[in-house]
């Protein structure tokens, strides 16, 4: 078992990954060698054109799918397999519809083999933390989208993970709810001091949350740029209207625009459309 000791929480080196598409057996190169270092307690946002592999990267980091070559170290440890040292916050509707809020929150503990009663007691703290006190016995279908994502977050936090992997968790929420969730997430992050990898397609969301924003290129994906966000914390929501913030937005927007255009060109190519 390879190990790596340095100050980094997560190290990704020269990662490559390709899929074989079932439909036509064509190999799709997703990652063409990406490298990234994430410090402990850092908040890193990943942005990039759709289809560039953001979800794929989170899946690889969680150990849900294998990668082709390169190295990954989490806490200096190179064996990456699914487990409760990582907390995965999925996009929407990933709650088990037949479980109440409490029973959804304890899922990870239950899988670990924890006693259900003990787990439920522990769940209360996290339900309170995400602001869902009073909704313990509700079912997901009785909750709004925002509340469902709070449960999703509590479910990831309760296992006390080393790292939180979040895949566009607020994408389906309306603008106001999303802003509230963003600022509450930051408050929780300050308390919990977790390392967070947060995927979003909203540049503004990335800048507001992140210490660093990683901008991916179109496929085959490389890291186009890593933008350090030097906006002091705590960040009130009003920070989104400051000049610094808007400058960051412009900067990242330009890079992404270029990449999106490239990826559109590629899509046309892949579909075999001749213009």
């Amino acid at each position: 078992m390879a190990t790596e000791s340095s100050g980094s929480k997560l190290i990704v080196r020269n990662l490559t990954k390709a899929f074989r598409r079932q439909r036509d057996n064509r190999v799709i190169k997703v990652f063409d060698g990406i490298s990234l270092d994430v410090h402990p307690s850092e908040f890193v946002c990943l942005v990039g054109p759709s289809g560039c592999g953001k979800t794929t990267l989170l899946r690889i980091l969680n150990g849900l799918i294998p990668y082709d070559s390169g190295e990954i170290f989490l806490d200096g440890n190179s064996v990456i397999k699914p487990g409760v040292d990582k907390g995965f916050v999925f996009q929407d509707s990933s709650l088990l519809p037949w479980r109440t809020v409490t029973d959804n929150v304890i899922l990870g503990l239950e899988i670990q083999g924890a006693d259900k009663k003990v787990a439920r007691e522990r769940a209360q703290k996290f339900i309170d933390l995400v602001g869902l006190k009073g909704f313990e016995t509700h079912y997901p279908y009785e909750l709004s989208g925002g509340m469902q994502q709070r449960v999703n977050l509590a479910r990831a936090l309760i296992v006390d993970p080393e790292i939180l992997l979040m895949d566009e968790p607020f994408a389906s929420l309306d603008a106001q709810t999303r802003e509230i969730m963003q600022s509450e997430l930051l408050k929780m992050w300050v308390q919990a001091k977790k390392t967070v990898i947060f995927v979003t397609h909203q540049i503004e969301e990335a800048i507001y949350l992140a210490d660093r924003v990683v901008v991916f290129s179109a496929r085959p994906t490389k890291i186009r740029e890593i933008v350090k966000i030097q906006i002091s914390r705590p960040r009130p929501l009003s920070v989104k209207r400051t000049k610094d913030f808007l400058d960051y937005t412009d900067q990242i927007w330009e890079i992404i625009q270029e990449e999106v255009l490239k990826s559109m060109g590629r899509e046309v190519e892949e579909r075999g459309v001749v213009r």
Partner: protein
């Protein structure tokens, strides 16, 4: 229980239908046609059926036949559950099993299984075993096929949630696949009730000496329509009751499923 307006309409509709039947019969009884065609040998009225019901109940005949049918139904249905659900699960989860069994399932499903009843009776005689087997053949397919589809259409993203926490295959199965497939399985159980009732009646037509199917057949041979209708009504009532009970169970076990269905209907812009 609160009566919803749709239930009220249904009740009124049934009541009106019965009333119409009674009135029609009474009008027919006054016309010369009644005598000319000996209609009383072929048709009875709701009141006549009710009288016959009380009579058959009094002599104990109805209970004896109902009991015999119920036993055949129960054995066959339970056997169908015991075979259909596990087989559906295995076919949906293990590719090889599916490859081997699918040709059998598809071809037997496509045969009119009622046609097998005489053969089964020739092979296994007139006893409860043959009856249960015929019921089983009717009931097993809706259960098997709905279980199969239920497991096959379990949501991938929910499976991934359990996997992401390091859940084992068994944990994925019990924490996601089973609960997500349960509504579909119960739908299969509901459809199977009707098939099983048909199975009971058919089995009893082929010369057993007890059961509601036998009773219906027997009285029709001697031109007594009232007891025939009594048998039919009891069969309908039983089938309907079992269906409704299973529907209740479905709502109780999977309240989220009803909501999901309603949302899908909304999504299709039907309401």
């Amino acid at each position: 229980m609160k009566l919803r307006s749709s239930q009220l309409y249904a009740f009124c509709s049934i009541f009106a239908g019965i009333a119409l039947w009674q009135i029609g019969y009474m009008l027919l009884a006054r016309s010369y046609l009644f005598e000319a065609f000996a209609i009383n040998l072929f048709l009875s009225s709701p009141v006549g059926v009710a009288q016959s019901f009380v009579e058959l109940l009094g002599t104990g005949e109805l209970l004896t036949h109902s009991y015999a049918s119920f036993i055949a139904f129960s054995y066959g249905y339970l056997l169908a559950v015991a075979v259909g659900i596990p087989l559906g699960v295995l076919m949906a989860t293990i590719k090889k099993v599916n490859y081997y069994l699918d040709p059998w399932v598809s071809s037997i499903y496509a045969t009119p299984r009622v046609a097998l009843a005489p053969v089964i009776i020739i092979w296994f005689g007139l006893g409860i075993f043959s009856k249960a087997l015929i019921v089983f053949l009717g009931a097993v397919f809706p259960i098997l096929l709905n279980t199969y589809t239920g497991i096959k259409s379990v949501r991938e993203n929910l499976i991934e949630v359990v996997e992401a926490f390091g859940g084992s295959t068994m944990q994925v199965f019990f924490k996601v696949m089973v609960p997500d497939a349960i509504p579909a399985i119960i739908t299969g159980l509901r459809l199977a009730v009707g098939r099983a009732v048909i199975g009971v009646v058919v089995a009893e037509w082929f010369g057993t000496e007890a059961g509601l199917g036998y009773m219906v057949y027997d009285y029709s041979m001697v031109f007594q329509p009232a007891p025939v209708f009594v048998g039919i009504v009891v069969l309908i009532a039983f089938g309907h009751l079992a269906f409704v009970i299973l529907e209740r169970i479905q709502r109780w076990i999977s309240p989220w499923y009803q909501f999901q269905l309603e949302k899908e209907v909304e999504g299709m812009g039907l309401e």
